[in-house]
């Protein structure tokens, strides 16, 4: 091998190395490598950072939010709204109440029967409040409800008697 050839090879390899280093550093232009006092190399990043820091307007933040791309057609909307899962299902757990004949749910008390018991209970409670007169006057004995033409029996000796001015309802058996 000749000395000049070796020197040329070394020189070229050094140039290539320099070019690769320069490219890695970010200098893609093949112009003068002299350091010149000119404009900054990457001016955009400073401008954008200033803008974001000074005025974060909410109109910019919309760009990163999810939005529908296309209007949902009425056909697509109908498929979703009328899907069998969304339709109301027919209930098969309704049966007639054996007492009054109104309909009731299988696992629930009959609404009509409950309502009539509730009304009578309210009247009894009103009577009790008349007897007591005020709050915190409940006696320390049991109460028994007596309707018209009823006398207290042996078991009702020590109990407080609440009287109601009507005949005994057919469903209230002692």
């Amino acid at each position: 091998m000749s000395l000049s050839g070796l020197l040329q090879f070394v020189g070229r390899s050094l140039q290539r190395l320099e070019l690769r280093l320069a490219q890695a550093a970010g200098f893609d232009s093949f112009g003068p490598a002299l350091a010149v006092n000119g404009p900054q190399i990457l001016p955009q990043s400073h401008h954008s950072s200033d803008e974001e820091n000074s005025e974060p307007s909410f109109l910019d933040s919309i760009f990163w939010m999810a939005a529908p791309k296309k209007r949902r057609t009425i056909e697509v909307n109908r498929c979703r709204r009328r899907h069998p899962d969304k339709l109301i299902k027919v209930q098969y757990n309704i049966e007639p109440c054996p007492e009054c004949g109104n309909m009731k749910l299988k696992h629930t008390l009959c609404g009509f029967c409950y309502e009539k018991v509730r009304k009578e209970t309210a009247m009894i409670r009103k009577q009790i409040s008349i007897i007591e007169g005020g709050p915190l006057n409940a006696p320390a004995v049991e109460s028994v409800v007596l309707y018209e033409n009823e006398t207290p029996s042996e078991a009702d000796k020590d109990k407080r008697i609440v009287e109601r001015n009507r005949k005994r309802p057919y469903w209230f058996n002692m």
Partner: protein, 209 residues
Amino acid sequence: MAASVVTWAGLTAIGRVCGHIRSRVLGCSSTLSQVSCLHTSTELNSKHWERKNLIVYPPQQKDEPRRSAEIYHCRRQIKYSKDKMWYLAKLIRGMTIDQALTQLEFNDKKGATIIKEVLLEAQDMAVRNHNVEYKSNLYIAESFSAKGKYLKRIRYHGRGMFGIMDKVHCHYFVRLIEGVPPKVEQKTGFDQAKEYVEQLRNRTIIHSL
């Protein structure tokens, strides 16, 4: 959707445009009213569904099949959404009136009580005015909901933005027919697909040999 976000400038523009349109329409109608009225309305307050109860058929011949009694009833401007009401209307389509009343009684929606009232009113009307013998012998032929007149209110958002909120109302219509409800054939998906393929096969190509 019932609400839409609008800026103040946009709304004033919309208002101005609406004013223009209204003035133009009024101008057009005043010129047209002198020429002719294409449709004649009998009374200002009567609406189509209520008028359907007033039609009187001529007496039937002896050989004609007996015409079943039809009762049309509706309720207007219900404070409920038409889309939500539609689900209840769809539930009771084709049921007997008793079955419909029980289903609505045990449904938790607000529209269920309203539709139940309408059905009971219609049943009462049927027995009193429309010569229906048995009040249970009715079935629901048609039942649907429609949009009523909406009131508009302002819904305040942040940053001085506002949306226009619609206070929704709906109408509910029902038609009862005397008799046993007709049985609807339950079509399977396979049958529907078969019908579709047959339809495609029956198409003819025009201008062909």
